[in-house]
Amino acid sequence: MTTQLWLLAGALLLCTGLTLIITSKNTVVMLFGVELMLNASNLNLVYFDKLHPGNQGQLFTLFIIIIAVCETAVGLALVFRVFRVLQTSDASNLTNLKDS
């Protein structure tokens, strides 16, 4: 029964992240959604690492955390840059390409 609870928590995090990405207008909050989805995979990996011998799951989780940090840094830098040019962080206003 406990296994199902852990996996349900992971599934809930994934679906919440997906819904947050779809429904939110703010680009920073969309990044929150990406973080939630990455953390859902981390939760599942650490739990399955506990069920199986070896520590592959924990190592994979470590690399996912590193990639998530990179993604957040670049994403926030892009948000900041777009805000300086267009004075908005609303994703539905970002409709212009360069020189248009």
């Binding site: 703010n26 929150f32 830098a77 840059r81």
Partner: protein, 167 residues
């Protein structure tokens, strides 16, 4: 029910509540605090799963690093004209339908599968460190290089040099 199981269930409930609350909070700082609750809660859950290393990394990197970075970005990119730091939501019906539908499918798949209670192996910190520097040394070094390049690139992207900021 042992105290460990009770604590696990309480923490999982807090995790679910904070994650769902993120969908409905309209003030962006409270939303960030809900994200912080989710990340810290996950860190404690990793500690409960005997993965101390990942738990500490989660608390240090996510709760310490990313949330501070997000707070900085929020303060720099939020304008006060549209109310006090409000988040606006759109596409509510398709978003919630997608989320609920996907959760239903995943829950059905989880409950249809019969899960074997495993041998609850515990990987010690020493074996993780040894594996990082022997079997997985290429991925470890590459992730270090990626982290360096990304942080340099992010600071270049966000820099306020006069000649490459076109207003």
């Amino acid at each position: 029910m042992s105290p460990g199981e009770f604590l696990t269930i309480v923490l999982l409930l807090v995790l679910a509540f904070a994650a769902i609350a993120l969908l409905f909070i309209r003030q962006i700082f409270i939303s960030t605090l809900a994200l912080l609750i989710v990340l810290l809660d996950l860190g404690v859950l990793y500690l409960l799963l005997m993965s101390e290393f990942i738990g500490v990394v989660q608390i240090l990197l996510y709760a310490g690093g990313i949330v501070v970075l997000v707070l900085f970005a929020l303060m720099l990119t939020t304008k006060k004209i549209s109310g006090p730091f409000d988040i606006e939501f759109h596409h509510k019906v398709p978003g919630y339908l997608t989320g609920i539908g996907m959760f239903t499918i995943l829950a059905l798949a989880i409950f249809q599968q019969s899960w074997q209670p495993g041998n609850t192996s515990i990987a010690s910190l020493q074996t993780i460190g040894r594996d990082l520097l022997t079997t997985h040394v290429l991925a470890f070094e590459l992730s270090g290089i990626i982290l360096l390049l990304t942080l340099a690139g992010a600071s270049v992207l966000a820099s306020t040099l006069k000649n490459n900021s076109k207003r």
